[in-house]
Subunit: 437 residues, 3 copies
């Protein structure tokens, strides 16, 4: 298991140092405070202090920040032996992505006189873009090395900014909660990468690709933080006043309705009428995704509840019936089922947005589809870059396993065999326990 | 254990779908945005954007929201084999209750021209009402099916709105932090239900009605979030300006003093002078409950600390000496001890409020008591509705056990016997471990 | 193990009750609402409600509050058998310290006409001072009784207020995020105490001074909350408007850069290129500490990233190379490595602050050093007060062990031997497991 290939001693430090030094140099050259963050510019104009955008958006920013680091991080800790990696790699790639996103988003729609202006709004947008990368991480969870993930983050952030520029600036779509730009993009990006990285022999580590009691409890922390703060996510960059207020309200009701339909569908479809933690942890969030585009519009609580209700149903059905087909027919091994949580509900959110906006959106969507086809081709090529055998990806038998990349307690001297013994016993399946005893 | 009676395959989906569809229809007919959430109404009048109530209350709302879903949810995860249900049923009934509360509270005190107006204040009030249901959930934790809990939530929310209407609108009581309306009501409602659902043979599942090391750690997450955000809870709907400020401050000091008296009493009363996690997890919160009514008044930090100090003492004494009596004499099996955390401190809070307000409150309280007597009779009848053998409640031997209603990891093919083997070993008591080995 | 010496039955209640009663009396005599919290004073002047400082600072206060109780509390739960004590004693001493800090800080810089004025700013300052005590707690974690910690808290808060008065009021230093006042002071205070309490035979409980899989997961909750909310910590008491905005932004980028250098250094220095949870849990936060002083200045994102980048490197190197030397040469057993997380990055932050401020700070720093030498002598004396054999400190063999001070599940009748059997098996090391089977 101490495969020299997966040894990160040089690969990871070199990647991190090079990326961070490039970032620091580019920040030095390109980034400056915006007029609400700069001491001179702010005091130059005649404002009251509470006019500063900080007071309108910072509480929402902190909620979004919690979603990114605790929400996504702990949602993925459901795997029995991959908690360190789930929360730890989530932390690493998010810290990179938010810096790179500041530059890329600034480059495409935040340049003022050759400089990228930063403030609370750019921080929220950077966190949003990071969210998209973390959605893709969910699709490949357990099957990639941290270096591979950093490379993915760099490419995805760049394409995210291009896609966002096309959708919001060129086509003039409204998408404050990111049904399209964040969720649909992140999900399909991740699915494309998962397709290229398809492992026909993944069954070798199948016994580790499942949860244990306490890992499901940790995952519920992630779920609940995403659920609770989604009203802040969708309203974080909508206009001041009634817009922020209305978006939060709509999302609140969409999620509540989604939760009821998720529990209903989980009991209906699962074994013996028992609730399935996979559904509760994921599908109950689909209402937030689906309200991402239309949340800021006059959707009404009534409309929001219908959207959330349907999103929960679609998402559970996806986990139950579509995910197995994606793997067997399309060779897409989607670890967290991001297609069910972010993909389909994201598309649904875009449609709801188009209907609610009542615009002549047909043409816009056609253009959107054309630009997306180009992007998907680029993403597919990127997948092959990620497949190069230089990043220290785990072998088929060592997927979903922390001890390849982490010092795991009890793992003294790297005696992986011994470690497995302990841990197998601690989380043992019935048959194995009997054998052990 | 795969009792057809506890099978939720049809019972839970039917209940959820019917309730949610009724909610959606009623929302469609009755609910509309208030003047700070509606695009037209808001821009019609001449406001600054920061006048929108959203900026005064949304951060507090989010804190309250965390208390409802993480705070209450994780506080109840202390049971060794009931974590999925604690946090999962908490999630389900809260998602229902907040929707139903919007309608009921709107019906009693939010109608404008035949419509219920919603915005951030109604969201907070709906979460408050939900909190009351979750307090009652604590009393019956481990002994009810999710369908039973949904039925309880519908009735309790309705009566909560009636009680709130009587206390706040008819009698003119002030109770922003809900010592009476939320805590006392929720606790005694739960205790009445627990009385009707009394199980003489509950000792059959007694070995599961206790904690293990990690489940106590999860419960501390719930405790701390409730403790930290209680200042937001009590101040969330007080008047703008000094009122919100003062309420948060008073609650902060009440809780700090309560924590010291809780630790002192726990060491004093418990075995060998060792601290008892039950006290720390619960009694340390009594200071927030007791400051619920008077927190917005000119109670002063000094007064708040006295209130919190006494609340902690009363609460620990309740856990130590009163709970066993409640079970043996009054046949009330109060799983989480809500009488000690919400019941007695809630009554104390009401008395402190009356004293602090220095009003001619005697008459008001007499009327309050009269209306409460009527309500308690209604609640008692409701208890019998909940006792009908149609909801799939667990048998006496299968209380406090997730695997009846949840797919539990390792529980393949529903071989409950095997599952018990694993889990018993994982959390084994000394004697059992020796036998196994 | 049921040593009468460590029995807290009387020691802890007496200490808590005496301290809390003294606090209540002093609050009654000295403390009153400030002009933004008092009903009469606030309405006397002609303000808009949103001018109330509550709306500028309360969201940041709540973030800081989460850092104090969840952040510090869970960060220290990494020890396998000390979770109850880590989070529980953290809770106790924080609840005491914030009350005592209100009085001490008020006495030194908040007196108005013989009264201490309190409001949201004093609450934040009290939490800051509490943070300093919790940093010191990290240095002595596992080796002290709760009574000892309460005594430490009383002395440390007092000296903190003196030091803060000297640095901020007499010398005129700016230090809003507390690189010097909070982190450096707390770290060196804790190290001095750890030096005096040096245990030459601590190796007797060495096997308990390490983590297990789930305890590391709990610790990551603490890490992430500290990381996410550090922008709020550093900006909580900076001036309204661009200052708060800029401080949050600078801290955000400092932490992001620090995270990348931490991962890089951890892989580079650790065994087989595997990441070490100790580094990730701690060193990734050094960027927040190091941006504490200069964060409010025009440091720029570029400067912040350089600071964070270097702080991460220094901190990991400290854990790897300096901590063993501190123990072997200087006889300082620093359980959590606060010297690496708060000590060195705090000094670095002070230097960065001095450089950024571009003041004639040389003289100020010389004076600061002189006053610190006096304080360190006082702290050293305090250490000896804490060493008195009256507080019920654990024996060398029972350090890092919850069951001395807590009722631990499975610990029936105090049969410590049996308990150890269970827990050893549950978290067994490879060799031990083989023996058991």
């Amino acid at each position: 298991m101490t495969d020299t290939n997966t040894n990160m001693r040089l690969k990871l430090p070199i990647t991190c140092f090079i990326l961070e030094i490039i970032l620091i140099i580019l920040f030095g050259v390109l980034v400056e405070y915006d007029k609400e963050t700069d001491a001179r510019k702010w005091h130059h104009s005649n404002h009251s202090e509470y006019d500063n955008d900080f007071y309108y958006r910072y509480p929402s920013f902190q909620d979004v920040h919690v979603m990114i680091f605790i929400g996504f991080g702990f949602l993925m800790t459901f795997l029995q032996r991959y908690g360190f990696s789930s929360v730890g790699f989530n932390f690493l790639i998010a810290a990179l992505a938010l810096q790179w996103a500041t530059l890329m988003q600034g480059f495409f729609h935040g340049m003022h006189g050759g400089k990228i202006h930063v403030g609370v709004e750019s921080m929220i947008n950077a966190d949003f873009c990071t969210g998209s990368v973390l959605i893709s991480f969910g699709a490949v969870l357990g099957k990639t090395s941290p270096v591979q993930l950093l490379v993915m983050a760099v490419f995805e952030v760049t394409l995210f900014a291009v896609n966002e520029f096309i959708l919001l600036s060129l086509l003039g779509t409204k998408d404050a909660g990111g049904s399209m730009t964040i969720h649909t993009f992140g999900a399909y990006f991740g699915l494309m990468v998962a397709r290229v990285l398809y492992r026909p022999n993944l069954h070798k580590s199948k016994h580790k690709n499942s949860s244990v009691y306490h890992s499901d409890m940790f995952a519920m922390i992630g779920t609940l933080y995403l659920w609770m703060f989604w009203p802040s996510f969708n309203s974080a960059i909508t206009a001041h006043g009634d817009d922020q207020h209305r978006t939060a309200l709509n999302t609140y009701y969409s999620l509540a309705a989604c939760t009821l339909s998720t529990y209903a569908m989980s009991a209906l479809t699962a074994h013996d009428g028992k609730l399935d933690m996979v559904h509760i942890q994921n599908a109950a969030l689909a209402g937030g995704v689906a309200a991402g585009t239309a949340g800021e519009m006059m959707l009404t609580p009534f409309g929001s509840m219908i959207v959330g209700f349907l999103a929960g149903i679609i998402s559970v059905l996806g986990y139950k019936y579509l995910s197995p087909i994606l793997e067997s027919k399309l060779k897409i091994q989607d670890t967290c089922g991001v297609h069910n949580l972010h993909g389909m509900p994201g598309v649904m959110g875009a449609i709801v947005g188009a209907v609610t906006a009542s615009l002549a959106t047909k043409e816009i969507y056609e253009k959107g589809v054309r630009s997306n086809i180009i992007l998907i081709q680029i993403i597919f090529c990127l997948g092959f870059i990620m497949k190069l055998p230089i990043y220290g990806a785990p072998s088929d038998a060592s997927c979903f396993e922390d001890s390849i990349y982490w010092e795991v307690p009890g793992d003294e001297g790297g005696h992986e065999g011994q470690l497995t013994t302990v841990k197998t016993e601690e989380f043992a399946k019935p048959e194995e326990t009997e054998k052990l005893n």
